[in-house]
């Protein structure tokens, strides 16, 4: 009985998917693994957007923590000589959580468009600082050297595969934790905050506290996404904190919907596929195609792609 309540079907499915992705890395061509790594790392940032959307808040500045994660990895490995991937991930997480713990005090006071605009403004401050920092390569950014793993340095040929497996492991772990969160008491109250903040207050709970906690949590997962992106590409640049990057995260969040923990992953992979092909066939108008896709989603599937999966599930049941 207790096993049933602590691990449900979704969590089992996530574990299987994680194992399958990791196994696929051995047989799939590297370009596919590379695109998958980028898409999944991006999906982590989108998870942060979704966490806040469930509270009724849209963050247009998730690039702030994406950038912090990437630059924490870049600075630590280039300037401090830290090459261990796990230490770098921990540093990225700690940096983002520390910044969010302070900024969250301010952000938790705002709602709606004010929250969105303020989050955007904060991310653009980081962008501005990075662009002006000559020591950090200004607009070009800088390269990130290869990682080691608990003292083990993979052979040059293996490096990419190991980075892929690490990405899958981190993403799988975060997905499991987020799945637990979505079904938890706090996850349930988050939806209540979106629906009626005053009532939440009169149930003896603090909506602002929950918004603060979610903001910090979203920052943490976004930073992990940034760190994994830096691992995959071996490069960081200020574009990570740019508002258009943040906009893309919101775009993917809308594409997937907020109904299920798997939705952002699915949406991010789909987004990557659509963008790759749109860019290949119509290099000058690929944004137009993305725009049309988003328009179609908003009109026909206002709750995102995941509503297709859910609808099907109901018919089967």
């Amino acid at each position: 009985m207790s096993a049933k309540t602590t691990i449900d079907k979704t969590q089992v499915a996530l574990l299987i998917a994680t194992a399958a992705f990791a196994a696929a890395g051995v047989i799939a061509p590297y370009w596919l693994c590379f695109l998958t790594m980028l898409a999944l790392a991006k999906a982590l940032v989108v998870q942060g957007v979704v966490i806040q959307m469930r509270l009724g808040l849209v963050s247009f500045g998730q690039g702030l923590f994406f950038g912090i994660g990437g630059y924490a990895v870049g600075i630590a490995s280039n300037f401090w000589g830290i090459s261990d991937a796990f230490v770098l991930l921990a540093l990225a997480l700690a940096a983002a959580v520390a910044v969010a713990a302070v900024l969250g005090l301010l952000m938790a006071r705002y709602r709606d468009i004010f929250f969105a605009m303020l989050s955007l403004a904060l991310s653009m401050i980081l962008f501005g600082v990075l662009v002006k920092s000559q020591g950090l390569g200004s607009t070009d950014g800088f390269n990130v050297p290869a990682q080691s793993y608990l003292g083990w340095v993979p052979a040059p040929g293996q490096q990419k595969l190991v980075a892929y497996v690490l990405t899958i492991a981190v993403v799988g772990t975060v997905a499991l934790l987020l799945c637990r969160y979505l079904g938890s008491g706090a996850g349930q109250i988050a939806e209540a905050v979106r629906e009626n903040e005053i009532r939440v207050e009169y149930l003896g709970l603090s909506p602002r506290w929950l918004i603060y906690a979610s903001y910090v949590m979203a920052a943490g997962v976004a930073a992990l996404g940034g760190a994994l992106t830096a691992f995959a590409t071996g490069h960081v640049d200020p574009e990570m904190a740019y508002w258009a990057t943040s906009g893309e995260f919101v775009f993917i969040a809308l594409l997937g919907g907020t109904a299920h923990v798997a939705a952002p992953f699915l949406a991010s992979i789909l987004f990557s596929v659509v963008r790759t092909y749109a860019f290949e066939y119509t290099p000058h108008t690929w944004q137009l195609i993305l725009g049309l896709v988003l328009l179609a989603i908003i009109v026909f599937l206002p709750k995102g792609l995941w509503s297709l999966v859910q609808r099907e599930g109901k018919v089967r049941a």
Partner: protein, 261 residues
């Protein structure tokens, strides 16, 4: 008897409007107090101040002998004073069951877990029991937006009762409820309240409801209490009849009973 709620010289002004003018109220344990008054008399302002939503301009509020002045609504709720709303304040996109689960999570602690499941078997059983007590168990899996008005009011009150409050403030429990439903609704609510020994203060415009369920009436007019006492005495009071009830209605005891179900 023990005083559960006491206000001393409670004042609140909105610009030039005096919504509360030196209110001295003492509510004893296990009383059922009805608050009457015309629109703008200061009834809801009183509830909002007592539950911490509005801060008074001056005065003191004591709940079970302790000052609750300046406390946030959530803190006052945790101390044991819950409220319901004139327009039911629910989570429309969530199911009725999930609305109660939220209330139960709130009742269990100020900081809900980020990892433990919200819908544990124990919580669901507790919520089902409350839904049955309020006679809305058939609506359990419906989203609240699809639930009729009368049931919404019941769910709103049920959510306030989940935390096992010692005092319950009801802001117009029968407003927006049809004539046929209102006595059944009040019977359900009052039965639950009595079973748990909760002290109740409710604001109500419907004199039939007030007469039938309360042990004491407070009559508000223009931010002041103009009468305080047993229903029959207050209803017969000349000023109350002139300023609150209106002359067209007959005093207590002589009303026709046809409106009852």
């Amino acid at each position: 008897m023990n005083t559960i709620l006491e206000t001393r010289a409670l004042c609140r002004t909105f610009g030039a409007v005096i919504a509360a003018n030196s209110l001295d109220v003492r509510i004893e344990q296990s009383e059922v107090v009805g608050v009457i008054g015309s629109n703008g008399a200061g009834k809801t302002t009183f509830i909002n101040m007592v539950t911490g939503y509005l801060s008074p301009s001056s005065g003191e509020i004591l709940f079970e002998g302790r000052s609750i002045l300046g406390h946030a609504p959530r803190r006052i709720t945790r101390m044991g004073m819950a409220r319901s709303f004139q327009v039911a304040q629910l989570f429309p996109e969530l199911t009725v069951l999930d609305n109660l689960v939220c209330a139960l999570i709130g009742a269990e602690g100020a900081h809900p877990s980020f990892l433990k499941p919200a819908r544990s078997p124990a919580r669901i059983a507790a919520c089902d029991a409350i839904l049955a007590e309020f006679g809305v168990e058939h609506l359990r899996d419906d989203p609240v937006r699809a639930v009729p008005q009368g049931a919404r009011k019941l769910i709103d009150i049920a959510m306030a009762m989940v935390g096992r409050p010692r005092m319950l403030l009801l802001d117009e429990p029968t407003s927006g409820v049809s004539v046929e439903e209102k006595f059944a609704l009040m019977d359900t609510v009052m039965a639950a309240v009595r079973r748990h020994g909760v002290t109740v203060l409710f604001v109500e415009h419907d004199m039939e409801i007030v007469e039938r369920y309360v042990s004491r009436i407070l009559a508000f007019y223009s931010g002041k209490i103009i009468a305080d006492g047993p229903p029959a005495a207050v209803m017969a009071d000349e000023r109350v009849r002139e300023l609150v009830i209106g002359h067209h209605t007959r005093p207590a005891g002589s009303r026709r009973r046809s409106a009852q179900p």
